[in-house]
């Protein structure tokens, strides 16, 4: 029993010691942080006019001078962070001028050193800065760091830095392969990172289309979104046929936005796909780029078993203009008691109301709105349907 008590005593002593040490350490660390913050703020205040000088003259022909006088280490860091903040927000010649200044101050060299020698989190921060600077010489070291990095947010910070600094597509390719090697479905993130580069992505992304790895194909598909590239089509077909459910969905989304590479025939097939998300996407897109020959397929969509697909089909029909509105009205009358008729009616009323309110803001929409309203009134002449015309009291906004 005494033993029990003594272990409890030891435990208490241990805990007390830990807490005291912890609290003391915490206090010391906090004190240091507070001092550093205050000091940094003071340094930035001291150099306030210097930054005004930079802002005023960065666009001029004269070279930018580094800050006058001897700088303490923390002072340099404070100035460095502010410079990076500024450089992140601009582009063009003036950013290059600031980058030149940064280099002249020796800061780029210091970042390269930290990249190789610092603690892990310091390395990642240095990588981030070097990315903003687009320092080409840093690329090999950055790639090295990328290869050793575990999968997580830091991986992408380093990847972005590489994307920004890369001067040859080979580097981008290498980077993509490293990330793809982790076998995680982060395709959108990779595509986004690649778009931070100022290089032309098309050639090397197109080369991915021929790869076996579906991940690489997907990255290419996403990265080339918006480029009417004929080679995308076969890759898309392949992913559609053989991919997992999520891959198929991604492929459809990538292919349909913003500029469709899909043939209308394919679009119709997709609107009957077994996956409801794909049917949904197809229904949405038909309203955006569709022509009147989409109407029968959208009408089919009104009968889908999933409410969301019905809803998007109805909205897309409305977007097609007068022919679509006509089709909706007909369905609303003929299939009044079926889900298709109900969704048609509801979407009609809702969209007409929205168009009515919008027409108050955008006068060019008044005429189309009234044409649609007239079609609606032909089918539903009763006044009880409460769709206000534009002349009626405009809805109050805050202003």
């Amino acid at each position: 029993m005494l033993n029990d008590l003594s272990s409890v005593i030891r435990l208490t002593e241990g805990a007390a010691a830990l807490i005291l040490a912890g609290a003391a350490g915490l206090f010391a660390v906090k004190l240091q942080h507070v001092r550093m913050n205050r000091q940094s703020a003071r340094y930035l205040q001291k150099h306030r006019e210097y930054f005004s000088y930079l802002a005023a003259h960065v666009g001029g022909e004269e070279p930018l001078m580094p800050p006058p006088g001897q700088l303490a280490a923390l002072e340099k860091e404070a100035i460095r962070d502010k410079l990076v903040e500024w450089m992140e927000r601009i582009r063009g010649e003036e950013r290059w001028k600031l980058i030149g200044l940064y280099r002249d101050m020796g800061l780029a060299g210091e970042d390269m050193k930290t990249l190789k020698e610092g603690l892990h989190w310091m390395k990642v921060e240095a990588a981030h800065r070097l990315g903003v600077l687009r320092v080409q010489e840093a690329v090999p070291a950055l790639l090295d760091l990328l290869r050793k990095e575990k999968y997580g947010p830091s991986l992408f910070i380093i990847a972005r830095a590489i994307a920004k600094s890369a001067r040859t597509p080979g580097v981008l390719r290498e980077m993509t392969l490293v990330i793809a090697g982790h076998k995680k479905p982060c395709h959108e993130l990779v595509a986004d990172v690649l778009h931070d580069s100022s290089l032309d992505l098309t050639p090397f992304l197109e080369s991915f289309l021929d790869e076996e790895d579906p991940d690489l194909q997907m990255i290419a598909l996403l990265g080339l979104r918006g480029y009417p590239c004929p080679r995308l089509l076969p890759a898309f077909e392949r992913l559609l046929e053989t991919g997992s459910r999520s891959m198929r969905r991604k492929a459809v989304q990538a292919a349909l936005e913003p500029v469709g590479i899909i043939h209308p025939q394919k679009l119709r097939e997709l609107s009957r796909d077994k996956d409801e998300e794909i049917r949904l996407e197809a229904a949405r897109v038909m309203g955006r780029i569709g022509t009147e020959d989409m109407i029968p397929h959208l009408l089919g969509g009104l009968k889908d078993k999933l409410w969301r697909v019905r809803y998007e089909s109805a909205r897309s029909l409305y977007r097609l203009g007068e022919a679509g509105v006509e089709a909706l009205c007909r369905t609303a009358v003929k299939e009044e008691n079926l889900p298709s008729g109900q969704i048609a009616k509801n979407v009609l009323i809702g969209e007409l109301r929205i168009s009515s309110a919008r027409a108050a803001d955008f006068p060019e929409e008044i005429l189309p709105f009234h044409r649609c309203l007239n079609i609606y009134r032909r089918y539903f002449p009763e006044p009880g349907h409460k769709v206000p015309g534009v002349r009626e009291k405009a809805m109050a906004g805050i202003f």
């Binding site: 001291k46 306030r48 006019e49 210097y50 930054f51 005004s52 000088y53 802002a55 005023a56 003259h57 960065v58 666009g59 001029g60 004269e62 930018l64 001078m65 800050p67 006058p68 006088g69 903040e85 500024w86 992140e88 927000r89 601009i90 582009r91 063009g92 010649e93 003036e94 950013r95 913003p258 803001d361 955008f362 906004g397 805050i398 202003f399």
Partner: protein
């Protein structure tokens, strides 16, 4: 007072002419510093400046009655003169233990400064006591004479006005800032700015509301430029539909921004 200053101006002018005749330079930087300074201080300052840049050619002209110290920097343009003021300021402040105010300018050689301009520069130096931020004022020459167009910048990110204000003011614009939609709308109706540069993601009222409010206000004839990090097509389209005149994506090119600004103002 008037006679004194015109005498002073005359002295400065002849100093400038002498400087430009002597060297083959085509420009001269002028730095005005207010205050009483001992000769020893001025010597020390000169030594200090030459130590940092041995190539610098500087003339000191001190008018004790007026209390104005003038530094003429032969062959130097505005940016370098501004930089020299940054070097001089901490040195002088250390001695005086108070804020030292300065005015900076530079004149190209083919049109030497007129008395009038010097006089304006002096006025600027002696006058501006309100903004404690502005210790170093820049006089950018004749551009600033005309009625300055008013620009309102609305952005919650404070680095945007930090970067844009000095350069736009140098161009002669009268720049104001707001950091949310509500303040932006309020300042619009107060200032009736010529151009409003606004971000879209703003607290309280977003950029779209700001655009809408400006367009609905019949007294306001402002041009609206949207400076935003939103890149999606429908965002851009909505801005123009609501009545914005231009859209620039962040990260932006300041050169491009200024060019478009000029175009908006001239239309």
């Amino acid at each position: 007072m008037q006679r004194q200053t015109s005498e002073w101006a005359g002295r400065i002018l002849s100093g400038v002419r002498r400087a430009m005749l002597g060297s083959s330079s085509t420009s001269c930087g002028i730095l005005l510093v207010e205050g009483d300074w001992k000769d020893s201080v001025l010597r020390a300052l000169e030594t200090r400046l030459l130590a940092e840049d041995p190539q610098l050619k500087v003339q000191f002209l001190y008018d004790r009655d007026l209390g104005i110290l003038t530094l003429l920097l032969e062959g130097e343009k505005l940016a370098k003169t501004h930089f020299v003021s940054l070097q001089a300021k901490p040195f002088l402040q250390q001695i005086r233990k108070r804020n030292v105010r300065m005015a900076v300018s530079a004149f190209p050689g083919y049109a030497s400064p007129t008395e009038q301009e010097l006089w304006r520069m002096l006025q600027m130096l002696l006058a501006g006591g309100d903004a404690a931020e502005k210790d170093i004022m820049i006089y950018a020459g004749r551009k600033m004479e005309k009625k300055a167009p008013t620009i309102l910048i609305i952005d919650v990110d404070e680095t945007v006005p930090q970067f844009l204000n000095p350069r736009l003011e140098l161009q002669g614009y009268d720049v104001h800032n707001a950091c949310d939609g509500l303040e932006g709308i309020r300042l619009c109706s107060e200032l009736l700015p010529d151009v409003v540069i606004t971000e879209l993601s703003l607290p309280v009222y977003d950029g779209y509301q700001v655009i809408r409010s400006i367009r609905k206000n019949n007294e306001l004839d402002s041009r609206i430029m949207v400076l935003s990090d939103r890149r999606l097509e429908h965002d851009i389209r909505l801005c123009f539909q609501l009545g914005a005149d231009d859209f620039i994506r962040k990260p932006y090119s300041p050169v491009e921004l200024e060019a478009r600004l000029k175009r908006l103002l001239s239309s």
